[in-house]
Amino acid sequence: MKRYLLNLIILLFVVMYGYSQNCSDYLTVYKTGIQYPWKYDIQSKSAIFFAGKSSRLNIICNAGKDYRVTFLVSSQIMDNINIKVTDATGKVYFSTGIDEELINALKSKKEMLVSLENQALKVKAGNKKIELQTNIDNLKLEISKYEEEIEAKRYKPNTYFEFTAMSTTELVIQVSADEKCEGRGCVGVLISNRPSYKSEF
């Protein structure tokens, strides 16, 4: 009985620990790694994530500055986190995880391929046949690129996004944990900036 009680206490302790996990200092160590001329930006933020949680972080980027947004994710939830960076109009500049738009685009490309292949079957020879075959080959190439991109975003995502703000602008960083996410963990959005350097002489 004592052993079971001990197990129960240990189990409850583990649950309590997991439940009270605090991600508010998640960026403390990482921010010390920012090197000149990059500078820490106080708009950086970290939070705890679990199945179904989503966050929209609205930040302001000043004109004439380069920004680097680095995403840090606890290993236990890494495969279940989706990130998207958009402007206020919804234009997507960066995304990781399951990209529904890309998946839909791939689906329509595949449908188009089937339709072209059916057309090609009906044409026996001549210029029309060559033209159709060229279109099919191009489409296949495009489809394989889409598949690679979907795969990369899902399983080998970039961990940072760099850009230059030409005007003072608002960006929305959307982070979400999908419903399959089993654990809970921290996600940090570490923002740094520097004056934008002109690349030409």
């Binding site: 009985m1 052993r3 079971y4 009680l5 197990n7 129960l8 189990l11 409850l12 649950v15 439940y19 009270s20 996990q21 605090n22 991600c23 508010s24 200092d25 960026l27 403390t28 500078k39 820490y40 930006d41 106080i42 708009q43 933020k45 970290s46 939070a47 705890i48 679990f50 199945a51 179904g52 949680k53 989503s54 966050s55 929209r56 972080l57 609205n58 930040i59 302001i60 980027c61 000043n62 004109a63 004439g64 500055k65 402007d87 500049y93 996004f161 760099e162 850009f163 230059t164 703000a165 030409m166 005007s167 003072t168 602008t169 608002e170 960006l171 900036n193 004056p195 690349s199 030409e200």
Partner: protein, 286 residues
């Protein structure tokens, strides 16, 4: 019996872990400690030193005696938080324009107020000593003062105190806008400092949303109303993208295009007056 206890505990754990309610009780990084929504929206604004730097890049000349005197004292807790932002802005202004001795004095004031509002051990004696030793080194002094402010913000975020952060941001932004209007000089639409002031409408929008999204909105109604009044005046500014970057360096992601702001003299004067009156109210000792 033991097995039943263990199974019950295990089932409880599963129930807790799989809780799909829209809110959950956890220790989080939000402005309230208790409850966190599954869907949250956070609004941030840049630190005051960023805007002050842009003013310097816009060739604004230093103007003396525009900062809040350091001998002012504030006892009201709400006011202390707002005024901390004001002094952080003043400190950033002095540091950016290489006013070393003054920066050290304002740094001491920032330290004093942060301790008054309960943010302890963020600026320790060694930081202060380092500042005094580097008092003629521009990069060191701005780095020390900026990092100290970033540490204050971090501490507030770790304390889940969104309201304090909003109040400091409010004080800091209003003071940096006041400084900008003082440095702008004569009105002209082409005046680069005035163009920078006009570009801040987007920051003002986020600042308002920052306050509106607070769980605890007590005593912030007047602040929201002040900011909305200013937004109304800034809504008369029109913006137009005049140059979209199409450059050889395609590896660089460019967001937005070079923007020109159209602002007439009376709109600018109105904005300037509103900022001045809000700032006067903020810095009044209380």
């Amino acid at each position: 019996m033991g097995k039943i206890v263990l199974i019950t505990a295990f089932v409880s754990v599963i129930i807790i872990a799989c809780n799909n309610n829209t809110t959950q009780k956890i220790d989080s990084n939000e402005d309230t400690l208790e409850v966190i929504s599954k869907e949250e929206q956070i609004f941030q604004v840049p630190s005051p030193d960023e805007f002050i730097n842009l003013l310097k890049e816009a060739k604004a000349e230093f103007v003396s005696n525009i900062t809040v005197p350091e001998n002012y004292n504030y006892v009201d807790p709400l006011k202390q938080k707002i005024i901390l932002g004001v002094y952080v802005s003043d400190m950033a202004y002095l540091a950016t324009y290489n006013k070393f001795q003054e920066t050290v004095r304002y740094f001491a004031k920032v330290k004093q107020i942060s301790e008054q509002i309960g943010i302890l051990q963020v600026i320790d004696k060694s930081t202060f000593d380092r500042l005094e030793q580097n008092v003629t080194n521009v990069d060191s002094i701005t780095s020390i003062t900026n990092n100290s402010f970033y540490n204050i913000v971090d501490k507030i975020q770790q304390n889940d105190d969104g309201k304090t952060l909003a109040l400091i941001s409010y004080g800091g932004w209003i003071e940096s806008m006041y400084i900008a209007t003082e440095l702008a000089g004569n009105f002209s639409q082409q005046n680069q400092v005035i163009q920078q002031i006009a570009s801040q409408k987007i920051v003002l929008n986020n600042l308002i949303k920052m306050f509106e999204s607070l769980k605890d909105k007590s005593n912030v109604d007047e602040i929201i109303s002040n900011l909305k009044k200013l937004l109304e005046a800034m809504n008369d500014i029109k913006a137009e993208v005049v140059e979209v970057q199409t450059k050889a360096d395609t590896s660089k992601v460019i967001i937005g295009g070079k923007t020109k702001y159209f602002i007439d003299k009376s709109t600018y004067q109105n904005i300037r007056n509103i900022i001045k009156s809000i700032r006067e109210e903020i810095i009044k000792p209380a």
